[in-house]
Amino acid sequence: MAKRKTTRMALTGNEAMAFAMKQINPDVVAAYPITPATQIVELFSKYVADGEVDTEFVPVESEHSAMSACVGASAAGARVMTGTASQGLALMHEILYIASALRLPITMCVVNRTLSAPINIHCDHSDTMGSRDAGWIQIYTENVQEAYASTIVGVRTAEKANLPVMVTTDGFVLSHGMESLDVFDDEDVREFLGQRKPLYNVLDVDNPITVGPLDLQDYFFEHKRGQIEAMFEAKKHIYDAHREFAEFFGVELPVFMEPYRLDDAEYAIVVLGSSAGTGKEVVDDLRDEKGMKVGLLRLRIFRPFPYEELQQVLGKVKYLAVMDRADSLNTMGGPVATEIARALYHFSERPIIHSFVYGLGGRDVPPENFYEVIEKMQWIAAGNTPDRMVTYVGVRE
């Protein structure tokens, strides 16, 4: 595991993702601006204008066309990337399903921002959670360093699994927050990624094919079953891609999740994205100052859902607080809580799970949110039963 050369830089999340895209030098980028992801598109356009990449940049007239052009380009064998957020992702929704069902390894940088209405440009996860069943692999990152590395490993993952990948950062918190990070050399990134080997190619005019036919009752289920199996197989590809990344660059990334002081934990918090940093500090305080057996699990990959891994690390926890930065509007709280409950359900010893929804529309996520969550779990541990399955943290009554 020889470590490759790295250079220290200070970049925002958007700059780091655009920089990774420059190093990747995709064949085609089709994208449309939207706050807080706009800079990714702007910076990449500048790389094109300066000749730092030889990408064909398609400045489309909407996100719907961005994803549509990505599908066309990826079906033509190209390495394809894009970026968006919120309303843009929602506008792509129809085509997200098509990209995955056609088995096209498009990599998309998504800057998490809430969905209208009311219109708001700040972070929560309702946009990507809204596309959770679209057949895309989803990687949520905690900091700028990880966003940068995940963009690179995301491309590798997509092309191994032949499935599209979203790599996300929390809007403004990461996208506009400056951090110092280590970046690799362009040549190393390009060598690591090599050439894409497509499953099929509409530019292969000597071997014509039909892509996207009408599939009726006699065949649709079989094709869908194949796509579902690809998501099962994606788990292995995700591990392989991350192992290869570690071997090549000498840098380890957490794969599906990052357990934090979970070993003997009685209480645990599950959280995604940048809030994990604050959560870890609270865990440290509760453990070191107050002697509580508390741990945290940052879920990094939400699709495919790592139920086996979760069973292993959370099986022994007694009280589990799942913090969602999105609400399913189903009166049960957030989607991560629902899915974790399903993953742990058939264990005879399983934690009591409560859903917490926090940080909507960019509401600050101070340490108090985490203390409040743990207090609520202690209250439950004391034998109380909450009248609802979900508690909202950080909102005025």
């Binding site: 064949d27 085609v28 089709a30 030889d54 990408t55 064909e56 398609v58 400045p59 489309v60 007239e61 909407s62 719907h64 066309s65 961005a66 549509s68 052009a69 990505c70 599908v71 066309g72 380009a73 990826s74 079906a75 033509a76 064998g77 190209a78 394809v80 129809e94 085509i95 098509i98 509409v202 530019l203 292969d204 005019v205 014509p208 094919i209 039909t210 892509v211 996207g212 036919p213 009408l214 599939d215 009726l216 065949y219 094709h223």
Partner: protein, 315 residues
């Protein structure tokens, strides 16, 4: 240099018809349009197709009628999809992953719904960006695949399932918008209107479009047997009558100039085109409405002649 068909014999030698076994209605003429477009040259082609009758009837898995590479993405995004394919081609050529001398042409087919209505934005974007592709609108003047609903291509007084002729309202109340004018406003490399009955005019236009440097567009009339409601053997005759009545002028646009390719010496009254179609049966005994249609045909025709006179097409 690609071969270009001139005669029917040349077309046959290309062996690039839509294969038999597709499920379009008996007499549906869009397979003829596809054959003419694919056989006009021997360029390797990649086709994108919008959702609609053409896509649905020609690719029911596992039976596809397309002999060339073909991709369907969704209803409103054929132009964006072909933009992506074309962008990939450019990038891969630049990076040496496709040989420099390998020339491929890109064609999108969309229905009127996928072009005038839901796909107009994506098409406008692709035209403005200047991708090298030919967009063929097969225009059957309605959403036929979903059961004959109105589109903004449906002509005034035609009865459809969402503009039905009723006791009070005589079918659709709006004129169809002029999509070819809208396309021309984008100043494409080439734009034209064509009719399958005039096959040699059509293939010549396809050849010019494929040679043009930039986006091109051809609006081709394509009757729909159940939608227009006529005996199936009349499909091609109707595309001739549409031209002979000046309902569907054959013209082209290039370099800022117009050319009307065919001026019927003795134009037929528009009723000759309307009469065989039962979508108009409720107005056939209302001469004032027929006259209104005739006036609109004359108005649009005169406008075209004026454009041609003021801005003649220079090759």
């Amino acid at each position: 240099m690609a071969q270009k068909a001139k005669t029917l014999r040349d077309l046959a030698r290309m062996k690039r018809a839509l294969a038999p076994g597709h499920r379009a209605c008996a007499g549906c003429p869009f397979p003829v349009i596809v054959k003419l477009v694919m056989s006009a040259t021997d360029y390797p082609l990649v086709v994108a197709n919008a959702t609609g009758c053409m896509e649905v009837t020609t690719t029911i898995f596992p039976y596809t009628a397309w002999p060339v590479n073909w991709i369907h993405n969704a209803f409103e995004n054929a132009a964006a999809t072909i933009s992506g394919v074309e962008a990939a081609y450019k990038a891969l050529k630049r990076k040496g992953k496709i040989p420099a001398d390998k020339e491929i042409k890109f064609v999108a087919f969309g229905g009127d719904g996928g072009t005038y209505d839901i796909g107009l934005q994506a098409l406008s974007g692709a035209l403005e960006r200047g991708h090298n592709f030919l967009y063929i609108l097969y225009n059957n003047e309605g959403y036929m695949n979903t059961g004959i609903q109105r589109s903004s291509a449906t002509p005034k007084y035609a009865s459809t399932t969402t503009s039905p002729a009723g006791k009070v309202i005589p079918g659709k109340l709006q004129w169809r918008k002029e999509i070819t004018d809208i396309i021309i406003a984008h100043n494409p490399a080439y734009a034209a209107q064509a009719s399958p009955a005039f096959w040699s005019d059509l293939i010549r236009k396809v050849q010019k479009a494929l040679e043009a440097d930039g986006p091109s567009f051809i609006n081709v009339i394509s009757p729909c047997q159940p939608g227009w409601n006529y005996p199936p053997d009349l499909s091609i005759d109707l595309t001739k009558l549409a031209v002979e009545t000046k309902y569907w002028p054959l013209y082209e646009y290039k370099n800022g100039g117009w050319k009307v390719n065919y001026k019927p010496r003795k134009p037929l009254p528009v009723i000759e085109f309307l009469k065989p179609q039962r979508r108009y049966k409720h107005i056939l005994n209302r001469p004032e409405l027929i006259e209104e249609i005739q006036q609109e045909v004359e108005k649009r025709w005169e406008r075209l002649l004026k454009l041609e006179e003021a801005f003649p097409l220079k090759e």
